[in-house]
Symmetry: C2
Subunit: 488 residues, 2 copies
């Protein structure tokens, strides 16, 4: 195995030597071509994914559209070109005591990137998903370890990417697909000397293991592991009084979307003890009871769900509000539970993510206790604040605290359904991800795969186009501190 993996990584390095210099326009063509090739597979892809994951056909129509849209969005980003963050400080020959040199910098591709796809988004965050799309856009070859829970889907998508490589006349090893499920395989690939960065989506245990492998190398490399989150929601007083029915509907949908197998699933909800909180809880239970039980992705996730659930529900002080037992194998019905903030604060285990259609309502005695719980929360991908204008006005401090907890703060909407945009942050303080300084969703995901280089007093003809005096790419550049599309 080792010889074969060495060969794969050396091929990735060989591809990097040319791919890092491929123009943004050519990369756009390639990324669009991947999207076209994925569409080309047609119904076979949708059916295969659905069979392998127990998720419905309709879901995969949506997820395929998102996957292709992401590939194209990264194509557009690199064709436009501003993403390299070109910065130019021009020379001042007569500055005292020393002349000021001409200094120009931009972001360049890091090297071969290793991607561990997600099981819960078999298209959008797997083989040609967000990590792969952003790394290819940055100019990094990708080696993907296909997720063992959807091998046929992964192989179909990998074929599509390879066809796109051929069609665009690019180096054949810019993208390589590896099948296999052993931890050892992950370790060898992560620790291979040419691997320059790793993208991972999955469990805390898996992500942390990969992270540790990477940090124990002679040359440590960045690992962007997105590992999950309980995405706490604060339910403020007036919102509970005036919008209980609407919120119950929205959160029931958010808790159960994809059988709860979303990393932004709202797994914890905080409110202050009141009849309106009780009323909301009842409404949410009713809404959840109307959602049918569906099969989860695979044995492993189902077993983890039931084990984690048992642990929480049998915990002293946790009250089950709604729990319809499903009889069919792998099938998970939604579950709602409740606990006092006193108990929650005493038991850090209740902060652990229960990956599935579950949420835990935390009943606080008063605002002070709610703030106390809010401050004690571990790192999160998202936090959500549900409140009327009046609620928010008198709870500004909760927003300030939220900044220290999460990567994204949502107001009056559910956390599931992450927008892929310029301002997206999908990443947060540990343990939600290994590096809360970066995002795995949205355009800035490309920043994970680059490093800056600076050219000092470089002749114009040797500079990359992005840094030449004449701005032929018409990109935004920071020239002597000011952003413009000007020439130097």
């Amino acid at each position: 195995m080792i010889n074969e993996l060495n060969k794969i990584m050396e091929q990735a390095q060989e591809a990097y030597e040319s791919y890092q210099f491929v123009s943004g326009k050519a990369k756009k063509e390639f990324l669009y071509c991947i999207a076209d090739q994925i569409e080309e597979i047609g119904d076979e892809l949708i059916h295969t994914a659905s069979e392998e994951t127990n998720l419905p056909i309709a879901r995969f129509n949506g997820e395929r559209a998102r996957t292709c849209a992401q590939l194209k969005a990264f194509g557009d980003l690199v064709a436009e070109g501003t993403w390299v963050e070109a910065v130019i400080d021009t020379a001042l020959a007569d500055r005292k005591p020393f002349p000021k040199p001409d200094m120009r910098k931009m972001s360049v591709a890091l090297g071969p990137v290793l991607v561990f796809g997600a099981s819960n988004f078999p298209l959008a965050y797997s083989t040609a998903g967000g990590d792969t799309a952003s790394a290819l856009a940055a100019g990094c070859p990708v080696v993907i370890k296909g997720h063992p829970s959807h091998p046929k889907t992964s192989a179909l998508v990998a074929d599509a990417v390879k066809k796109a490589l051929t069609q665009c006349g690019l180096h054949p090893f810019i993208f390589q697909h590896i099948e296999g499920s052993s931890f050892e395989l992950g370790r060898i690939l992560t620790q291979h000397p040419v691997t320059a960065g790793v993208g991972f989506t999955g469990s805390l245990i898996g992500g942390r293991a990969i992270y540790d492998y990477a940090q124990n190398r002679e040359v440590p490399i960045p690992v962007f592991a997105e590992m999950g989150s309980t995405n706490p929601v604060i339910l403020l007083k007036d919102a509970l009084i005036h919008k209980a029915a609407e919120m119950a509907k929205a959160f029931a949908a958010s808790i159960t979307i994809g059988v709860g197998q979303f990393c932004t699933n709202p797994g914890i909800m905080l409110g202050i003890k009141s009849s309106s909180l009780n009323h909301f809880t009842s409404l949410l239970a009713i809404e959840l009871s109307m959602v049918p039980a569906y099969k989860m992705l695979h044995d492993g996730i189902y077993n983890n769900y039931t084990t984690a659930l048992d642990k929480v529900l049998f915990d002293k002080g946790v009250e089950t509000i709604y729990h319809a037992h499903a009889e069919d194998p792998l099938t998970a019905s939604p579950v709602l539970a409740r606990v006092s903030a006193d108990t929650f604060l005493l038991n850090p285990e209740l902060q652990h993510e229960v990956f599935g259609p579950f949420s835990l309502i935390i009943v606080c005695e008063n605002r002070i206790q709610m703030i106390n719980v809010w401050k004690k929360l571990k790192g999160q991908l998202t936090t959500t604040i549900m409140g009327t204008e009046n609620d928010l006005e008198i709870n500004k401090d909760l927003v300030d605290i939220a900044r220290n907890i999460a990567g994204r703060i949502v107001f009056n909407a559910v956390p599931t359904g992450v927008e892929v945009g310029n301002a997206t942050v999908h990443g947060g303080p540990y343990p939600s991800s290994t590096d809360g300084r970066f995002t795995s969703v949205g355009m800035d995901a490309i920043k994970r795969w680059v490093r800056p280089i600076c050219f000092q007093d470089c002749p114009d003809s040797l500079l990359p186009d992005e840094l030449k005096d004449f701005n032929s790419l018409n990109i935004f550049r920071k020239i002597n501190g000011e952003y413009s599309r000007d020439n130097v």
Copy 2:
């Protein structure tokens, strides 16, 4: 000791809770005030630093000016405000199939930062040096472990910062100074739960130890260790023929500046076997012979220098070109040696940094061998290419390779004397630093101490000023993909 350190870190966390929200203008006032307080110390600072480090008075006049200029430059940066990288994507309520939310993001302070100052820049990269200035500018409280080789200098500067805190009415624990030299102290501080990031300048062994401590935490944190480099220089054919004298003068000065105790010291120079390379080597030896021997910073550095030097000079195949033995204790005279590329390629130990006034000329058989050596070099802070227009035209491939080796590529100038600007990259692939994706010098050094947060559908009144519709700070923002100083 542990109780005291716990108290210090808890105080830093307490300071963070308010300091992260302090305005850019107030931070500018604070940073300028630190500079003023440092100037206030007057000659005492210069004399103390000179006595503690064996470096001349003149050097400290320059270094103090640089230290104060850096503090002010970061003050200007945060008062101007664009550095937070505000990105705004506005909502599209009627987008299909789902409405597009309003998403806004910016960089916020990471938390308390631990700084290990450098011994070789007792002002500019120590107590109130680049790491401290950039962390304070970002909104992070700083805990500095003063360098044990200049304790009095460090204490004087720490007092200046504390006076500035009082004068500006800021939280007293935004800056705290710890004295001590044990490894254990560094470990405890790095692994304290509230420490959010670490800046370090020093040796590979020290930097790597801190890095490993940080990665073995329950919550890993970023470590920016700048650990040194051999800063290889390529001497191209026509440059050797036409500019030998000028180059010999410039590189003799660069090799010996600060008694060679600069991290950008040109420790390796490559050329193709020729009479002009021999001529340059002789001229460089003559120039070096005219530089007097000076005392190094302290015992440890001097001992490391002589040990490393002996190792290289007694290596089979290494020829000593110039080596005047200095008799006085701690005194290091410049040394020049030469080795064939064949020998160099066989002996990876010759790539190790010799920290002091030393350089090794590598004689390549031909261009192919020079490229081979160039490609085999470990990660570097800088590489330098010396060549005429014609040289550079026919050696474009060397520039492409240089991009993969170093953070900064210098053309026809010495690598020492790093400009503090917007485009500066002082950081490079491991082992020159632990994270080549960031810089420790220049304005972007502030990016080491932040993470992004995203506000989704947040009412305007709750947004930070940087993200509000009305651009009261008049900063550049990326609004729906375009940079401007516009309102939304």
